[in-house]
Symmetry: C2
Subunit: 348 residues, 2 copies
């Protein structure tokens, strides 16, 4: 990101007809987007594209979700038919929806808006050993990077991350534990609705995943490209790799990416461990109800824009933030200065 454009954006904010700093966190968003685009004012983040990475998880066999695994494929069909909440929110904010099958455990029929980049029919069970091979992780990462490239080439000026994968909050918890050094108990949540007994079991499964893959010692955060890829392959999911790739691809194209919830937070930890400068291209769309998401956001130093206890995924929290990001940028284009409007400035 460009520090000159950011400084220019801060100065411009202070000339506009509003008390200095009165737009709170939105002023930081506008400044950040100026840095991303290396121009002040930055372009409006439109059109925006939601990319939903869909995949299944071997760890589902451990009973970490009350939902059958088939729901992943069924929801992909629901996205293609326009019937999911992500579709409703995308229509509301004017974003397109692209689904990328990076590892759904079923053969999907050809559907509009769904592209096949299937790496495998779901990951292996991360509580027993590595979820993916290193090659598979790289393949899913590449799918994300290329998806970003395709969406930007198609004219999109803002990418939004989305995910679909029954049991993917378990892999997210494992990734967040590994990449922040926090205990599984503080990184694991109730996902889309597990009861007390299943919640304790889920924490235990995450703990076993760390042990099985050699990450049981807290605080040994992976550093360096090899170690990061190994950790992603060990306890991640194909959609985490795909989203990490999307973030890297967006950063490479100097386009902002709005992160959704805990799956995106886990993926952003991977992306920024691979390329620390990618963090500057991320806007945290929302804070989900998953405790691990707050752990990830705080580690990433990102402040979420929407905080309404959503726990749905799909990109829904990222989509909700898009109008806020647009509003923050629009201020830089439309609002008069004290001079131009003939408004008196503060006296002291």
């Amino acid at each position: 990101v460009d520090p000159v454009a950011m400084a220019e954006a801060r100065t411009h904010q202070d000339r506009l007809t509003k008390p200095r700093g009165s737009l709170g966190a939105l002023e930081d968003v506008a400044v950040r987007l100026a840095g991303v685009a290396a121009s002040c004012p930055p372009p409006l983040p439109v059109p925006a594209a939601l990319a939903i990475f869909a995949a299944d998880h071997g760890v589902h066999a451990q009973g970490v979700s009350p939902w059958p695994q088939e729901v992943t494929a069924q929801m992909v069909a629901n996205f293609a038919a326009g019937g999911a909440v992500a579709n409703a929110f995308a229509a509301q904010v004017g974003a397109s929806v692209t689904v990328v099958d990076v590892g759904v455990a079923a053969d999907l029929p050809s559907m509009p808006g769904v592209s096949s980049r299937k790496v495998a029919y779901g990951t292996a069970d991360l509580s027993q050993g590595p979820a993916m091979t290193r090659e598979q992780a790289l393949q899913a990462l590449a799918a994300g990077i290329e998806t970003a490239g395709d969406l930007v080439a198609a004219g999109n000026r803002c990418l939004i991350t989305g995910d679909m994968g029954i049991a993917n909050t378990t892999a997210s918890a494992a990734l967040i534990s590994v990449f922040t050094g926090r205990d599984p108990a503080s990184a694991t949540g109730r996902g889309t609705g597990v009861d007390d007994a299943m919640y304790q079991h889920k924490i235990d499964v995450v703990r076993r995943a760390l042990t099985a893959n050699g990450y049981a010692e807290a605080g040994a955060v992976p550093q360096g490209q090899d170690a990061v890829l190994q950790a992603l392959a060990a306890v991640g999911g194909f959609e985490h790799a795909g989203i990490a790739g999307l973030i890297l691809g967006a950063a490479a194209a100097r386009v902002p990416v709005i992160l959704d919830g805990v799956i995106a937070g886990a993926a952003a930890l991977v992306a920024t461990a691979l390329a620390p400068e990618a963090a500057g291209y991320c806007v945290a769309g929302h804070r989900s109800a998953e405790p691990g998401h707050s752990v990830a956001l705080s580690y990433l130093g990102l402040r979420p824009l929407v905080d309404l206890e959503l726990r749905l995924g799909e990109g829904t929290g990222g989509l909700l933030a898009h109008p806020l990001v647009s509003a923050a940028v629009r201020v830089m284009h439309d609002v008069a200065t004290f001079d131009s409007a003939g408004v008196a400035d503060k006296e002291r």
Copy 2:
């Protein structure tokens, strides 16, 4: 609000292809709007209209703001010219902007989008005695009620409150103190930017306002129409009365009203003290950085949708919330049910 439509909305939410409750606070918004419209699904809250009530304050003479009083009139001209942040946000969310002069301390030229309902050239100094006569308060209330009626008659299906008035956070703090029984120190904030010395002085001015008007005894919250009107007249502003009227008018027309920040919070305390059922028609757009706003929201039992430390007013926080409200309602229209989409439900 209609409890049958609300119950129907809750049931419908649970049939949609998403984990139950996974839209967090947005599910409550959709249910609330079903109650407002007495229909499920409720209509989309479009078109939306922002109504900015502008007025001046005699208490400005006490040195409670670093901004000159002339800025109120200058900002009205800025709204009319489309140059304020409220205009940028309104353009972003597709809302119209109407300015109502209920008491600006200057003769305003005729401007498009600005209607004159001037009650007086600013209020009297509330730290010395009543800010308005009872007749003046009623006149400003009526302006708000009629503005709501006009906007709904013009086809609007969502109203958003806005305000402009240098020194109006002082009157807001006094109203919030009186209507919640809280000490002025917890109801008073730094407004659009006062330093430490001015802040202590501002609290002292609010305290003097309560003493001068007979509200020094904490906890004597006004009850009954006469007492409420008297308190509004004593320590309020014309824009508070106007916004209280807008809320009452929206409720009468069964149209939801999105509240902006601390000025709207103070006005909502007045409106709901006059007609408790009006609370059901209000959606709290955001939580401002003003501490008194949190006091008011908590007293009203409203949860804000946006919480980004804005402290600008004008309706900016209310406008930012509008896409979130629309998204919440759109879910009720667009999203498939488990049955219709062929998606398996949770197993337990």
